[in-house]
Amino acid sequence: MSKVIMNMITQRSIEEGAAMEKGKTNPDYFDACSICEINPEDMKKLGIWKNTNVRVTSECGSVIVKAIEPTQFCPPGLAHIRQGVWANQVVPPRTQSTGTPQYSGFPVTIEPAINEKLKTALELVQGSVGLWKGGK
């Protein structure tokens, strides 16, 4: 199993915006945001099949997302998770004393995690503050 350090950015997409306005617990929001866009070259290097789950780990956390080919071209070495609940599991809160967290341009390791399950937005957020009542 290989591990490579990649540069991660978290940005907008119209699918994410459209889904968010339907509601954050809507299945569209889950589909739009629980993904990581990775260049096919990097996928090969990492041993990842497209549309399978991967574990993304940063200095401050880790999250399971589905690896897909970029919907907008992403150069090798750069990965992209759409802004939202899944991205913010790994966004470092360091602000360089400006109040703005490091939402773009932080190092992550990405590894295959085919057998891991994606968590819903509610499970991630409620789970992280000890309020999740559902099953594992």
Partner: protein, 460 residues
């Protein structure tokens, strides 16, 4: 007969489109059709039909379950919690009207709170750069009527501001830009080949996080000096060609976004961009504009600058004068240093959009959410108070990304019993005054007040 309402404002992104047409049912309780909007705006209006929208405040019980409570009880809890807190943090305000922002200013002052808005995690760095270096900007109409070179630096309007290019920046035929897109040269600067970059004549696919170097290279070329063969992954020839296009423009318009403010350097990237704009004005006319996110995120900057003198990160805990120092008084920094003991989230979703560690810190204390819908913040809150949706069932003033105020309409009757942000906050302020045995002076001074119930409190 269904009613077609024209000139409706869209309460989503900073483009604040005000040319929507909404077809509503004859009893004005359902949105049937939305014309002219992008898919996001359309979803937003249709979501207001959702029959499961909350109509009563919901409080978390000691056993973790949620119970609906009357508004009076929620207002009492809100007022008492704020007064009991040593340093409450009130955050949000991307998505509400200016009347609501002004009303929360009165509460924040009374509570000695820190008052902050979404700029803190968005275009806050742009504010810092403006403080340092000024803001040579214009309105979007000028971009539409005059700009023949348009630069999108670290922004992706095709996804984030879907109608921006068709209303203001690329496609419209303006007064001096009668040939529309044919007359404009579009430059995109982005590490990805975004859908905006695909529209551009020149795409500078720079290395992520190296914007500052590229700005420096642009300025060096502008001032007639030599640069290395490659800067930030871009060839010298391409840089010289791009600078030449910008220099020869009749009116050059630079839009910038999160690609500059969220990455290394934060405000210094914007600082360099503003310096480049000023340099370009030696050769041509050049203007710069922040691609503000929410439809009224420029609003709190305006309202609170007028109330307190500062646009965001406003520390009112001294009681007599306001203090602002992002890095010290910003939401994320306060949360990470555990310096607040109560969190109020209004018209935003800190639960989904703050880094999760900041959410974990904030959740140690009372957590109140004021929002028309369920979201991540409301689902971890101790108290969720529903309000009307500004721009859908509540009218009000909003400020577009270029700080142009627009009067938004209400297209639906609000849910019965559900107040607007302004009404809710005025009632909370009145309750705080009752508890502290003080006069609600700001409400007494308000001409069109609905509260306090006592019409002339100064006399009683």
């Amino acid at each position: 007969m269904p009613k077609l309402i024209t000139g409706v404002g869209c309460p989503y992104c900073g483009s604040s489109c005000d040319d929507l047409e909404v077809l509503v049912s004859d009893d004005e309780t359902k949105v049937l059709e939305v014309h002219n909007s992008c898919i996001i705006g359309s979803n937003l209006f249709h979501h207001a039909n959702d029959p499961t929208r909350p109509r009563l405040p919901r409080q978390r019980q000691p056993d973790g379950s949620i119970k609906e409570i009357p508004y009076e009880e929620a207002i009492d809890y809100f007022a008492k919690t704020l007064l009991a807190a040593k340093k409450p943090l009130i955050y949000g305000f991307g998505s509400t009207n200016c009347e609501g922002m002004s009303a929360i200013g009165r509460i924040a002052e009374k509570a000695g709170a820190v008052l902050d808005n979404c700029a803190t995690i968005c275009h806050g760095p742009s504010f810092l750069a403006m403080f340092d270096n000024g803001y040579p900007s214009c309105t979007l109409g000028e971009a539409k009527n005059r700009a023949d070179v348009v630069v999108f630096w670290g922004c992706n309007p095709m996804h984030a501001h879907p109608r921006h290019t068709s209303r203001y920046s690329i496609f419209p035929r303006g007064y001096f830009t009668g040939k529309g897109q044919m007359q404009r040269t579009v430059i995109s600067v982005d590490p990805r080949e975004t859908d905006t970059a695909k529209l551009a004549d020149v795409h500078l696919m720079l290395d992520q996080g190296h914007d500052y170097e590229l700005f420096d290279a642009f300025r060096t070329v502008l001032r007639g000096h030599d640069i290395p063969d490659k800067v930030a992954g871009i060839d010298k020839e391409t840089i010289i060609k791009s600078v030449d296009i910008m220099k020869k423009a009749r009116f050059c318009m630079i839009f910038f976004g999160m690609g500059c403010t969220h990455t290394d350097g934060r405000n210094h990237n914007i600082d360099a961009a503003i310096s480049m704009t000023r340099d370009l004005n030696d050769h041509t006319k050049c203007s710069i504009m922040a691609m503000r996110g929410h439809y009224n995120i420029a609003g709190p900057g305006q309202v609170w600058s007028w109330q307190f003198g500062f646009p965001y990160c406003i520390d009112l805990s001294k009681g007599t004068h306001a203090h602002m120092n992002p890095g010290e008084t910003s939401s994320i920094d306060l949360a990470m240093r555990d310096e607040v003991d109560c969190f109020v989230n209004v018209g935003a979703d800190a639960g989904a959009h703050f880094p999760i560690q900041a959410v974990q810190h904030l959740k140690k204390h009372p957590f109140i959410v004021v929002d028309p819908n369920f979201n991540m913040a409301s689902e971890i809150a101790d108290l969720h108070i529903p309000v009307r949706i500004a721009g859908v069932d509540e009218p009000g003033v909003v400020y577009r990304m270029d700080n142009v105020p627009i009067q938004f309409k209400a297209v639906l009757k609000g849910l019965p019993g559900v107040p607007s942000d302004e009404e809710l906050f005025d009632r909370v302020y009145e309750r705080m005054c009752e508890i502290t045995l003080t006069q609600p002076i700001w409400l007494a001074a308000k001409e069109n007040r609905k509260y306090p119930h006592n019409t002339n409190p100064m006399v009683s």
